[in-house]
């Protein structure tokens, strides 16, 4: 997966988490994962279709998810489900990243975020690698698992 695809997601996550949580974030770890992804806690998945296809999973271990949900909702006992709040967080990050990618010339559509309840993520195929990033926030770690592939003719061949 090329850096041009990943960098907008890193920038968007950093900006959105920083603004929404009112804190500094730090990337702990970036790893390629050839095996199927295993969910850690409360998660949301966003699918993208077009010249770039794939999915992005946002995943928070439960204590971190509860704390982040409380911070974002401004109350210790949010009325909305933690999953609902993670979905909106995913929507914000992916929307901002897609904005950058689109302005770079990639054309694709984002589907509304959905709660990701499966223990495993979708299978990784030969032409789709998954990259997992861990963002450290004062409330805990957020994992962003990106599995995207170029569909536009000529782009994949340039890899």
């Amino acid at each position: 997966m090329k850096l041009e695809l990943i960098q907008p997601f890193i920038n968007a996550a950093d900006a959105v988490l920083g603004q929404s949580l009112g804190c500094q974030t730090r990337i702990n770890d970036i790893t390629m994962r050839p095996e199927r992804y295993r969910r850690q806690g409360a998660a949301a998945v966003v699918n993208v279709r077009g010249e770039i296809e794939g999915r992005i999973i946002f995943d928070l271990e439960h204590p971190a998810a509860d704390r982040i949900a409380a911070t974002l909702s401004g109350t210790a006992q949010p009325q909305e489900s933690v999953e609902e709040i993670i979905c909106e967080l995913a929507n914000l990050v992916v929307g901002n990243a897609v904005t950058t990618l689109n302005d770079q010339g990639f054309r694709f559509k984002v589907q509304p975020p959905q709660v990701h309840r499966d223990v495993c993520g979708t299978g990784i195929t030969e032409d789709t690698e998954a990259l997992v990033m861990s963002f450290e926030t004062p409330s805990g770690c957020l994992f962003m698992n990106i599995a995207l592939r170029y569909k536009r003719a000529g782009v994949a061949a340039a890899d």
Partner: protein
């Protein structure tokens, strides 16, 4: 941050809003901001087609419309709303803020575009701009915080 209340110039009543977003959490966040502007949430919708029904029912002063939604997306809903209600004042509020989307929304009749995450002070200024002479700014701040 405190805001001076935005009131309807015609009757000095709170500005009435329709919030359209598939995320309950996003709708609640916007509702909190509207409250801090001294406004009133007249209705909510989770998709474009419900938004059309709700608009006809409540006739709000301002519509805050998300783009990525199930069933009917925001840009299509804005287009249909403008055909049925040319007086509608629609502000698109979306995390997907690329040029093409913004131009499409404005061409369909939306008055403005605000990218998420929404900064309360930014949305306040946009609403004031969109309402123009139809709104007046109260002398005192509302005291509510977004």
């Amino acid at each position: 941050m405190q805001f001076s209340a935005l009131l309807r110039a015609s009757d000095m009543a709170p500005v009435r809003y329709l919030i359209v977003d598939d995320s309950i959490f996003a709708r609640k966040n916007l509702a909190k901001m509207i409250e801090s502007y001294g406004g009133c949430v007249a209705g909510e919708a989770g998709d474009g087609s419900t938004a059309l029904t709700e608009y006809s029912r409540i006739k709000p002063d301002v519509v805050l419309m998300d783009i990525t939604m199930p069933q009917m997306e925001g840009i299509e809903a804005a287009e249909k709303m403008m055909l049925q209600h040319p007086e509608a004042r629609i502000i698109m509020v979306s995390s997907v803020g690329y040029q093409e989307n913004i131009v499409a929304a404005l061409q369909k009749g939306a008055r403005h575009f605000v990218q998420k995450p929404v900064k309360p002070e930014m949305l306040y200024e946009v609403i004031k701009y969109v309402l123009g002479v139809d709104c007046t700014v109260a002398a005192e701040a509302t005291g509510a915080r977004p």
